[in-house]
């Protein structure tokens, strides 16, 4: 963890109703870095993102943004939530949604402006959503909505972009489309991206670092360092195998009977 980290989580723990959701989580993210927040469903990924957003108070530890404690409400973080659940008759066109990314948190009315229209249009072009700028958000497919929400999150030029499972329920071509848009924008705009996913494989082309979450704990580093049977077995608290096949990585639980103590005894040295 270096002092020039854009985002720092320092020994963060979250306990909810007596259950430990996150245990002693520490890691840092630097500007322009693409980090995958990988782990099975229920591991604590969404909670971790909500802690960073300030929506979930921590039981102990600290979240630092640019080296200082994050204020409860910080607009320098862009956020794309897991799913929208919007009705088709929601009176918001795609361009209205992106425009709300600039000033949707402000009170009062605003007048239309040419500069704003151009900004919105440029942003939609950047995410490849220009085609449906005039469609209602609720009428789009999941992948199209994700592109629009990425434009919504990025138009205010945040330093950090958080995405909660943006690839869930997408077909493979939409998935690749979203990943390449994010990889391109992260580099072009120097935005740090933290993206949660249960499958790391689609992210391989763009991911600089991995934060692997299991059972409320994290292992952080390069993919090759973290995605090792010893590291992940220790994280899960049970033996898991890592299988690399045709450039893809599969993490699978060992069948019943494999000695858990054996796995736990191995020390990889990269946890935390």
């Amino acid at each position: 963890m270096t002092t020039n980290d854009l985002l720092t989580l320092d020994h963060v723990s979250v306990r909810l109703g007596g259950r430990e959701i996150l245990q002693d989580v520490s890691f840092g993210i630097q500007a322009g870095q693409f980090t995958g927040l990988i782990g099975p469903n229920g591991a604590g990924k969404t909670t971790l993102l909500k802690v960073i957003l300030g929506l979930q108070p921590v039981t102990s530890g600290a979240v630092l943004l640019d080296g200082s404690p994050r204020s409860p409400r910080d607009a320098s973080i862009g956020y794309v939530p897991q799913k929208l659940g919007i009705e088709p008759d929601m009176p918001l066109r795609v361009k209205d949604v992106v425009s709300l990314g600039l000033d949707g948190h402000k009170f009062g009315l605003r007048l239309p402006s040419r500069a704003r229209r151009e900004l919105v249009s440029d942003m939609l072009t950047a995410v490849g959503a220009q085609r449906y700028a005039d469609a209602r958000i609720g009428e789009l497919s999941g992948g199209e909505q994700q592109r629009v929400m990425i434009a919504h999150a990025l138009i205010s030029r945040p330093k950090l972009l958080l995405l909660d499972e943006p690839l869930a329920n997408l077909d493979i071509s939409s998935e690749q489309g979203i990943v390449s848009v994010l990889g391109r924008l992260a580099r072009a705009e120097r935005v740090a991206v933290l993206l949660s996913a249960h499958d790391m494989n689609p992210l391989m082309p763009v991911m600089d670092r991995i934060v692997y979450v299991a059972a409320g704990r994290v292992a952080v580093g390069d993919t090759d360092e973290v995605v090792q049977p010893e590291v992940l077995s220790r994280l899960y608290g049970q033996h898991v195998d890592v299988i690399r096949v045709h450039g893809r990585i599969l993490v699978v639980a060992a069948p019943e009977g494999v000695d858990e103590a054996e796995a736990a005894a191995e020390d990889a040295g990269v946890i935390r």
């Binding site: 409400r73 929208l84 008759d89 929601m90 009176p91 949707g104 009315l109 009428e139 639980a253």
Partner: protein
Amino acid sequence: MHYVFEPGFFASGPVHVALAVGTVVAITSAVVGVFTVTRGQSFAGHSLADIATTGGSGAFLVGVNQFWGYLAFGAGAAAFMEMIGIQRRRGRDVATGVVLGAALGLAALFLYLGTQYSTTTGASFTILFGSIFVLTPSTVPALIASALLALATVAALARVLLLTSLSPDIAAARGVPVRAVGAAFLMALAVSVALSAMIIGAVLSTALLIGPAATALRLAKSPVRAAITAAVLGVLAIWIGIVLAYDSFYWPPAGRGWPVSFFVVTLIVGGYLITYLRRDRQSAPQENVDAEQACSPA
């Protein structure tokens, strides 16, 4: 011309007041209604209307203009709804089964007592189904001021309400006090319901609130256009309703005009049905194929 506007229509004082107040109330209800439907709070609007019935009949019983009863009970109910969380399903169940039943029961009692102690036999009808031709002139400034206040509140909250409808989490992360905004909107909704109750009656007030808005949301894509469309539809329904109600004095049974609220509500429902019968321009978005399942244990 004579067949549309019966003699005396343009000279009638009550008609002038009805047209002026009706227009302001229709615009307010329509604009508040667009946000109510967008936020999925039509049920809250309906609950407020039921409770306003109690307030209006109570006010009549103690000799106060029913508007103040609608307003006081509506505002109190809005605060209560915010407390029990009307947005949640359990909150709705409690509200429907317990609170609304009790409110309408009280309204029945108040109206019964009211007719016992008063010679004004039309009071029950006025409270339940409206009284646009018998508005007390002294309440007109209060009605218009309340309408402007509700409109100003919604205008001030417009962008924040839209962002919250899009995603409450995004709004909260960007520093929007989501709960306070929701409470302020419920208050504006309560005022709007009280106003609508004055025009077409407490029982029917949601029609003016939700009807034009729901129709507009089928026609217009952007929030501004939806609000304008809803306002135009609401105002048209009120104007045409007033003209027809005035004309109906000459319809059978002659000498007794038909209720304005009947015409207004029928026009609103008719408008909605016309947009409903029109086939959807675009088919529903296709669901995406589920992505490959996780390859992690757990």
